[in-house]
Amino acid sequence: MNVPMQQSDATVPTDELATESAQRPPRGLPFWANPRLGLLAVIVVLVLVFSSLRSSFLNTDLTLVPMQQDLSVFLVVGLAQLAVLSLGHMNLAVPRMAAISAFAMGWCYQHLSVPLWLGLVAGLIVGAAVGALAGWIISATGVNSFVVTLALDFALVGLVSLLYSHIGDGVAFAAHPAGMNTLRNDTFSDYCAGNVCGPPVPLIVPIALLAAVLVALLFRLSRVGREILMTGSNARAARLSGIPVSRRVVQAHALSGTLAALAGFLLAINSGAFSADIGNSFLLPSFLGPVLGGTLLSGGAVSVLGTIFGAALTEVIRTGLNLLNFSVQDLNIYIGLVLLVALSLDRVRHVLAERRGSRA
């Protein structure tokens, strides 16, 4: 469903690198072979199926708005993982990077009474610092990112718990800075100029979209982003090409930490409190969105648009199955089955497209 970067690509000029090849089908294939288009088609089909089975699937207040709120969080969680998948690394500490950043934000709101944006900045800095630490350990020791971030996650589990017990207020901060409830409860439809009101889109959605756009711009247009991808594709070739590989590893992990912190902030806004359990449910969705969307686990190619669609697909499936009243045992089985079918169809479509392309 995606096109991996060829090893030889590492030697071509930076602006020829393969971010675009991950976004588009190989030359000669029909337009419908674009993996992102396939994912979008699966989402559209599922929306049609679910809304025909349950009309409440299209209920604005009770289904569509909450879906967008959750999607915003899981999109940013997916981007946090994507940032290191670009290197061919993993960040198993995404959940706890979110948790420790949420602690920092909550502490700032509770004890320093800072405005919402300033607490967010403090949390992002903490997230970036923890991410950079992970990146530095990986590049300095050469130990696999899986091991380093797993160990870091364990360490942070204990640290977060200790921080809440000794410095925090038990297991959560009660502070609600000005604007937090507005950001949580309002949609653009609550704001009108005369008789014209905005769409029923929650206020946190633009924050997640902005993060997605910035990450896409980073990997598509900036030298740093392209060098990170080149490092992910072939670190040795990247080093021989003069790319500061260690620095790029640290930067990619710092970006992952920053995005994990942003996801923690968005979840705290959605759930209404900065608490110790922020991030507990982040690990699986962090991989699901990017991998479904075509980001390679081996590094060298990322797809932000695919991550958006991947996160949306899982959200649509879960909401649809919830509305169809699946039991707890059935729910996970069917989520797995639907994902498997979606991925298989996508693969079948891509193979068909390749055959058609080779015949042409």
Partner: protein, 356 residues
């Protein structure tokens, strides 16, 4: 970051500018007045129009009696419908999704065991803002306020205190005690820890709390491993184990019995393993809760509130009862619990609800 070229990014840049503009325009616009109100005043629904959803935090044996009790409530109070949904999987985000989905399906009253006591008030506020009737059942929100109409739950601190007192009595008033409990980041666990500590403090140093083990209520296997490790390391020093979570209780009851160590085990709830342990003397006592009463009386109160009654004190916390059961009353404790349930229903009519 250094941008090397822009041509392909113009569209993406355009999107980001549009998003920002939208946000700025929105904040510049006038906000519509908030017409949403609290549903604590009720919706004037007839019982046949009231559909109650019981939503535990996730799958757990504790909630299984809710199913029988809710069907009994449906029959006794002629409710329009009841459902039980445990798909939240101990994840607050998923629980919020489940609640929204059930509301979209037409359920208009909710008995909720919130996954995260610290966040659940926000969820309650959101549901009440949509004119739905909400009660917290089995677990109250953290802090001193409850955004739901009422909380009908075990007073966990008192129950833990009673369990610890029973353990200390079984130990003969002195010795080393261990406390096994659930998720440390749950404020209810903090209350349980405080309850046990209070009982230990009252002994004036005769009883020492040598260890509190948290986070072992996720499943029975985790609890069994933790208890095996505990008995292997400190089995001979321990005189009593007080459990304030279900899985550790089942695990410690069978592990202590198998090991033959003279440890007094105080369990929680009335799992068949625990009841048989009390009968054969391997479990000194258990603290049983009242999940049937929570679901049955909770359903009754939700029906009344949806019908137009109001709580005299909105957000009031009501103890659903906890009882120490020993060998002497293991055969009769359920009668006591049924009496407590009847009393709770009477109390709602006479003390807590205001109906015109």
């Amino acid at each position: 970051m250094r941008i090397t070229r822009f041509p392909r990014g113009q569209r993406a840049l355009g999107i980001s500018v549009a998003v920002l503009t939208l946000a700025m325009v929105a904040t510049g616009c006038a906000r519509k007045s908030n017409a949403q109100g609290s549903s604590t005043s009720g919706n004037g629904l007839a019982p046949a129009s009231v559909k109650i959803a019981y939503v535990p935090g996730g799958p757990h044996p504790y909630f299984q009696p809710w199913k029988t009790a809710m069907n009994q409530a449906k029959q006794d109070f002629s409710l329009g419908g009841v459902t039980f949904n445990e798909t939240s999987g101990w994840d607050q985000t998923k629980q919020n999704n489940v609640l929204q989905s059930l509301a979209a399906q037409g359920y208009n009253a909710f008995g909720v065991f919130g996954v995260s006591p610290d966040n659940i008030n926000s969820t309650f506020q959101q549901l009440e803002g949509k004119h739905l009737t909400v009660a917290s059942l089995g677990s109250c929100p953290a802090g001193n306020t409850d955004a739901a109409s009422f909380c009908l739950a075990t007073d966990v601190q008192t129950a833990a205190y009673r369990a610890a007192v029973a353990a200390i009595q079984a130990m003969g008033g002195s010795g080393n005690l261990v406390h096994l409990t659930g998720n440390k980041t749950d404020s209810n666990t903090q209350r349980r820890i405080a309850g046990v500590q209070k009982a230990v403090d009252e002994t004036g140093g005769k009883v020492k709390l040598i260890q509190t083990i948290t986070d072992i209520d996720t499943d029975l296997q985790t609890a069994q491993k933790a208890v095996a490790d505990l008995l292997g390391a400190k089995g001979k020093q321990i005189n009593g184990i007080v459990n304030t979570a279900y899985n550790p209780a089942v695990a410690s009851a069978s592990a202590v019995k198998q090991s033959g160590l003279p440890i007094k085990v105080i369990a929680i709830d009335d799992d068949p393993t625990i009841l048989s342990g009390i009968k054969d003397g391997s479990v000194a006592a258990t603290v049983v809760q009242n999940p049937v009463g929570q679901a049955y009386v909770g359903g009754y109160a939700l029906m009344k509130l949806a019908g137009g009654c109001t709580m005299k004190t909105p957000g009031q916390t009501i103890d659903s009862g906890s009882f120490v059961v020993t060998k002497s009353d293991v055969a009769t404790y359920d009668t006591k619990r049924q009496d407590e349930t009847k009393q709770l229903k009477t109390d709602f009519d006479s003390k807590y609800l205001s109906c015109k």
